[in-house]
């Protein structure tokens, strides 16, 4: 038993094979269109994911801080003109932070909560003195906010007693190596001698210069916040759900809750604009490909007028003729999506070999996610089908006698 195609696909494929030049042309157009879309989508998705990843590599998804202190007017009378100046915010603790932390941890979507005590200090060694941010953390919990262990260039990310972890820039500026001593001095006059137990490079010069990690109790006592924390850092399961989570927490606690999406609003707007222009390009390409397929099929219907008439005279129904041309459109779309995905893969390989980051790493990976190929195949096949609709209906409506008489 050999495999035999049913009538409509059989005739559709034969027609495509017969119109060799036309078929090659629309296939080339569809392939090019699919390649552009898949390549662009893969590239932009990767680059955006990288940017977001880099930003979130040193940032909590959501940060809870004490409510801002505002000046209240003693006399709430509309008759008085007054200037209300914002107050300078002093270092304060979150009231009952343990309860808030428990509340946050129980919130759906939140995967980690880490208390942090942070405040300004000076790192002093010999004559040199640098302004730093003292970060009191529980290393175990903080690791689930920022993946510090991945950034360690020396030692481990662990703090205990007076052991501290500092950034590579600060180490360089002060000439500090592992196990060296380092004094921190605070504006309130307190100071402490720390021992460096780890050096990190987080890929951000400013943070490499500023962050000095110590234990939570040490930071609390140095910063005069006994038992208190200045903020709670949160990690959420879906980074783009950070905003709703923040909103819910703000509503529940009336504290100052900020998501990374607010902190990086400009970046997000830029990414969004990029996505919009990418969608615009994709839509145009889809339209152009659809018009290409449709116009070639319109010509093909006219050329095949006689064959259509013959088929009708032999008992082919209108819907059979309709199917023949719809299948041609779908086949062009499907084959074009396979070839286009292959071309996109080649392009990704070529460009990832050419474009490299400052560190010599490829700017993007030359890989194609299967879901993009599936998406391209689905879209291209549907576009092929839809573009074939008008030509196919013309073919189905054609008068068989006209074709046979001439």
């Amino acid at each position: 038993m050999k495999f035999r195609l049913p009538f409509a696909p059989l005739v559709a494929l034969r027609f495509l094979r017969e119109g060799r030049m036309q078929t090659l042309l629309i296939l080339a157009g569809t392939t090019g269109g699919v390649a552009v879309i898949v390549f662009l989508t893969q590239l932009i998705t990767q680059l955006q994911a990288q940017i977001v990843d880099r930003v979130l590599g040193s940032q909590a998804h959501v940060v809870i801080r004490p409510a801002e202190e505002v000046n209240r007017r003693a006399i709430d009378d509309a008759g008085f003109a007054s200037i209300v100046e914002p107050r300078a915010q002093r270092l304060r603790s979150i009231d009952q932070w343990e309860n808030i932390a428990r509340l946050a941890a129980d919130m759906p979507g939140v995967t980690a909560v880490s208390p942090v005590v942070t405040g300004p200090a000076f790192a002093v060694r010999g004559q040199a003195s640098k302004s730093v941010a003292l970060m009191g953390v529980d290393a175990e919990r903080y690791r689930r906010i920022v993946r510090m262990e991945e950034y360690m260039v020396a030692g481990r990310f662990a703090v205990e007693g007076t052991r501290a972890v500092i950034g590579s820039e600060l180490a360089k500026d002060l000439g500090i190596r592992m196990d060296d001593k380092l004094r921190v001095a605070l504006p309130n006059g307190r100071d402490e001698l720390l021992q460096v137990g780890g050096i990190f490079d987080i890929g951000n010069r400013d943070l490499n210069r500023r962050w000095v990690f110590v234990t939570l109790p040490l930071a609390q006592s140095l910063l005069d916040l006994p038992g208190g924390v200045s903020n709670l850092d949160l990690t959420v399961a879906d980074i783009f759900e950070a905003q709703p989570v923040a909103d819910r927490l703000r509503g529940a606690t009336s504290l100052n809750v900020e998501s990374w999406m607010q902190t990086n609003a400009q970046l997000l707007a830029a990414l969004r604009n990029q996505s919009v222009s990418n969608n615009l390009i994709r839509s145009f390409v889809v339209i152009i490909v659809a018009l290409g397929i449709a116009s070639v099929l319109v010509v093909s219907v006219v050329q095949k007028q006689k064959e259509i008439g013959i088929l009708r005279a032999m008992g082919a129904s209108r819907s059979m003729i309709l199917q023949i041309f719809l299948i041609q459109g779908a086949v062009v779309g499907a084959v074009g999506s396979v070839l286009g995905s292959m071309l996109a893969f080649t392009l990704l390989n070529v460009f990832s070999a050419i474009y490299r980051n400052a560190d010599g790493q490829p700017l993007f990976a030359a890989e194609l996610e299967p879901r993009f190929i599936a998406m391209a195949a689905l879209v291209a096949t549907c576009v092929g089908l839809l573009s074939a609709l008008i030509p196919a209906r013309r073919a189905a409506r054609m008068d068989p006698v006209q074709a046979i008489r001439s």
């Binding site: 049913p6 009538f7 027609f15 017969e18 064959e307 009708r312 082919a316 129904s317 006698v401």
Partner: protein, 238 residues
């Protein structure tokens, strides 16, 4: 004549461009019936309406007025789908210009009516088609495309195709019109042979009085009317 009528036309008219200033009636009240096994010639001057009549009988066009029955069924009440099906299963066409599908082999062309009727090719249709090609002397050319065949060979393929579903009615519009006399005789003989074998009714448009004389009956059409409809001497031939 006791054989059942395959087609019956009563007062059949056809007008083109109906309701426009250039409205022209091409057929004016045709009465005609063709019985099983009958082999009739349709003759008449060019433009007299022969092709139009054949296309209407072949259900490719609808008449403007009058009645057309095929196999005892009045076609006026049939839906588009029923018409298409009736055309595919009961009627075999042979056109002046063979009208084969250039993208398909001779064998596939002959199988096509069955592919359409059954939805896909099958072994039985292939066997039938091969037997038909054998009968028209083209078994060796089964896998050739129409373009690789001569005019006479193409027309034989077209005849084999018209016979593929063993139709009750064969309509041929100048099937030998552009063939040389010798080839024309061959083609005509083939049609005649199948007519005798399968007892189908045949209506054949021809300009060749020699060939017309070899039919059972000659229907002459002049200006859209049947001028005469006479049996030939050939009918008495064995």
């Amino acid at each position: 004549m006791s054989a059942a009528p395959v087609i019956e036309l009563a007062g059949l008219t056809k007008a083109y461009n109906l309701g426009t200033p250039v409205e022209t009636e091409v057929l004016h009240g045709i009465d005609l019936s063709l019985a099983e096994g009958e082999f009739a010639a349709l003759i008449g001057p060019s433009g007299s309406g022969k092709s139009t009549l054949l296309n209407i009988i072949g259900l490719l066009e609808r008449p403007t007025g009058g009645r057309l029955s095929i196999g005892g069924r009045d076609t006026a009440s049939l839906s588009e789908a029923e018409i298409t099906q009736l055309r595919g299963r009961s009627i075999g066409f042979v056109f002046q210009f063979h009208h084969l599908l250039p993208a398909f082999t001779a064998l596939e062309n002959v199988m096509m009516p069955s592919i359409i009727a059954r939805g896909r090719p099958d072994d039985e249709a292939e066997a039938t088609a091969l037997a038909l090609l054998d009968a028209v002397g083209l078994k060796a050319h089964a896998l050739k495309k129409p373009a690789e065949l001569s005019g006479g060979q193409q027309q034989r393929v077209a005849i084999a195709r018209a016979l593929a579903l063993r139709p009750r009615l064969i309509l041929a519009d100048e099937p030998t019109g552009n063939l040389d006399t010798h080839t024309a005789d061959d083609i005509f003989a083939l049609l005649r042979e199948f007519n005798r074998q399968s007892n189908c009714a045949c209506l054949i448009v021809t300009h060749d009085p020699r060939l017309a004389a070899r039919c059972d009956r000659i229907v002459r059409l002049v200006d859209g009317r049947i001028a005469d409809d006479l049996p030939t001497a050939a009918e008495t031939n064995p």
